[in-house]
Symmetry: C2
Subunit: 401 residues, 2 copies
């Protein structure tokens, strides 16, 4: 394959000009690299009046190098997932201007007017439309790629289009295996060591994680974003943009819902020890719980509306089945939320919501809360009959500490 990495700004601007109509020949273009730098290269290309993003996928993980090869097919998947999400959930993802398979690169809308939701949560911003926006994004992207909307022949074509083995394998390992044993990739706070060791002995927990893993491996319910943490959501006063669906594949719906809920709960754990006034932090924790309720309730209501109005499949639209199904979806979502909380606490990749707490003791306190919550979510997931019961349980846990 004749793949060539962009080496100079001129490579990037030439590509940007070729694949979008945004710039005139007279525009003088500048380039800055803005990627977080882990996996891909991300460039912002701008003139005096316009800007766009160029994202290039290398045949390996950028920070590790050629020693960890990674299929470049992920950039095709990201591009096609963005286009499908744009169709199913208007204006919530950046518009794709162009794509070139040879260069493994996408040219897309610059969403610089939005900031990372993770940073907003750490700063305790109360952006008004985010939780509702996330609920709508989940309902729309998941419903329109599920059997509740697609015919079975279209659905199978979608499964085939988004088979994504390399990136699924990363999740299979970092979510469902590493954190449940003393794995060399893990990153465990020394003060949390005995908690982690206890967790590694818990066979009931491990059985339930195996069930969630089997669903992740097997259950092709809908096209997932599949990496929907709070760093993949960008937000401002007017709404959200969701980026980076390179992990997209047809999998269990609860995985997307669970990941974003977990990231709110991870922030809640962090707020117990982040800098700032106690009252302000407690107040924000309540706001986070209210946001989780809004995410689920918005999703639940909108998803059910879609079913009522658009599901043709006669056996699956039976109200008795839908009630059972939504209950199961809540349990799945909470289970996957638990796996995200645990893997972000003792696995390889932590989150700044907790990791930025500089005092190791205080950090361990927040980490312990995440770990306990994660285990409850996984083991008791089928017991929560609605999202309120989760909120009540989290409050109990916060007050009992």
């Amino acid at each position: 394959m004749s793949f060539e990495k962009f080496n100079t700004d001129a490579d990037v601007t030439a590509f940007a000009r070729q694949h979008s109509p945004l710039f005139s020949d007279q525009d003088r273009l500048q380039v800055e690299e803005i990627g977080d730098g882990n996996i891909n290269f991300v460039y912002r290309v701008f003139s005096d009046s316009n800007s766009l993003i160029v994202k290039q996928a290398l045949p390996y993980i950028r920070v590790i190098g050629e020693g960890w090869p990674l299929s470049q097919d992920r950039i095709r998947i990201e591009c096609e997932a963005l286009k499908l999400a744009a169709k199913n959930c208007q204006s919530v993802v950046p518009e794709v201007y162009g794509f070139a398979a040879e260069q493994c690169a996408i040219v897309m809308q610059d969403i610089g007017a939005y900031g990372s939701l993770r940073s907003a949560l750490i700063e305790r911003q109360k952006l008004p439309l985010v939780a509702e926006g996330i609920g709508c994004f989940l309902a729309d992207t998941l419903f329109y790629t599920s059997d509740l909307y697609l015919g079975s022949i279209e659905k199978k074509a979608l499964v085939q289009q988004f088979i994504n083995p390399d990136l699924c394998k990363i999740s299979e390992e970092v979510f469902f295996w590493d954190p449940y044993c003393d794995h060399e990739r893990n990153n465990v706070n020394g003060l949390l060591r005995s908690d982690a060791e206890q967790l590694w002995q818990d066979v009931v927990l491990k059985r339930e994680v195996a069930r969630l893993k089997a669903k992740f491996l097997n259950q092709a319910e809908a096209l997932l974003h599949a990496d929907l943490h709070s760093g993949s959501v960008f937000a401002n006063q007017s709404g959200i943009k969701v980026i980076d669906p390179e992990f997209a594949f047809v999998g269990p719906i609860g995985f997307d819902i669970g990941l974003i809920i977990a990231n709110y709960l991870l922030n809640l754990s962090g707020q117990a020890n982040l800098p700032g006034e106690q009252t302000e932090r407690s107040d924000y924790q309540q706001w986070l719980l209210a946001s989780i309720e809004t995410i689920w309730d918005t999703f639940d209501q909108r998803f059910r509306d879609h079913i009522q109005q658009e599901t043709q499949e006669p056996s699956l639209k039976l109200p008795e089945y839908i009630d059972w199904y939504m209950q199961e979806l809540l349990a799945d979502s909470l289970g996957y939320a638990g796996t995200e909380m645990i893997r972000r606490t003792i696995g390889v990749a932590h989150v700044d919501d907790v990791e930025s707490i500089s005092d190791p003791k205080k950090r361990a306190d927040s980490e312990r809360l995440s770990l306990v919550l994660g285990q409850i979510l996984i083991k008791d997931r089928a017991g929560f009959r609605n999202i309120d019961q989760l909120v009540v349980r989290v409050r109990e846990l916060m007050y009992c500490r």
Copy 2:
């Protein structure tokens, strides 16, 4: 596409010669058509000393004609499924000698020394090695194509290789929809009409069938035969051969297990009213129940042995997970067995085990037994803790009539 149906015996023999080394140029070959004639053309080609089978798939359903087109990709799928089964479960499927995509035709081993299991059951033959052979076939073909054996990247390639939308769609409709409403395709004995009408009103049953349908649509557990009724199993004193995997796709394991168990139970229902001595028929019913136990127990033991000896996946081989999983598999299997019993009783395609009972009243009696059993299997499937409990329940039902 330049596809050409074989029109003359000479077309068939030329193809057979070209794609197998079985015949010498001196051999005089004869052709007989032996297919059941519903979907494909099946020919037996034979000399004085040798024989083989040629199977050709048309781009439509043979008995219906060009009005019901059907993807010819099914013959590639059948060929690849046969080869994979031959690798995973030696000598239980006919050997494939050759395949030509252009002609949509396979040349394979003649298994004329074996007879249809359905006929053997109707004649109350007690072939000694059949149930054990079926249990081994299930354990081997299902284990070696599941996540318990394959790495996740290989598994996803398998899913892609066996995406089979046209044939899955047929099953989705005839198993999981038609029999649960007053569908024009249904074939309901007039004397059973009120039983069927009652069934169509049962929302608990329909909810459970929707759950089984959703698993059939979504759950890519292992490569299924996916049409494992007793007409797909051929048997004699020395064992079995399994044929016709054109419906193969990666789906829920319980579907294969359930179908073959259901076909034993359908025969059991038939034996209540087939010709012959009462004692002989009752005795055979007990033999059928013992066979069902043998099928499950052989499968269960061998599948667990495979896991113990060959599963590398660390989270899925946890004993606590495996116990949960085998329990779930039994419930799935019984649920799918129930759908097969119901669809073979009031759906479009009946089975000779019951259909050959000429007196409509007697036939209705057997059909009613199938229908009741089918509903128990679906609604109570999670309550059966082992296969013995199923056998006890069936006996109760037989004696209480």
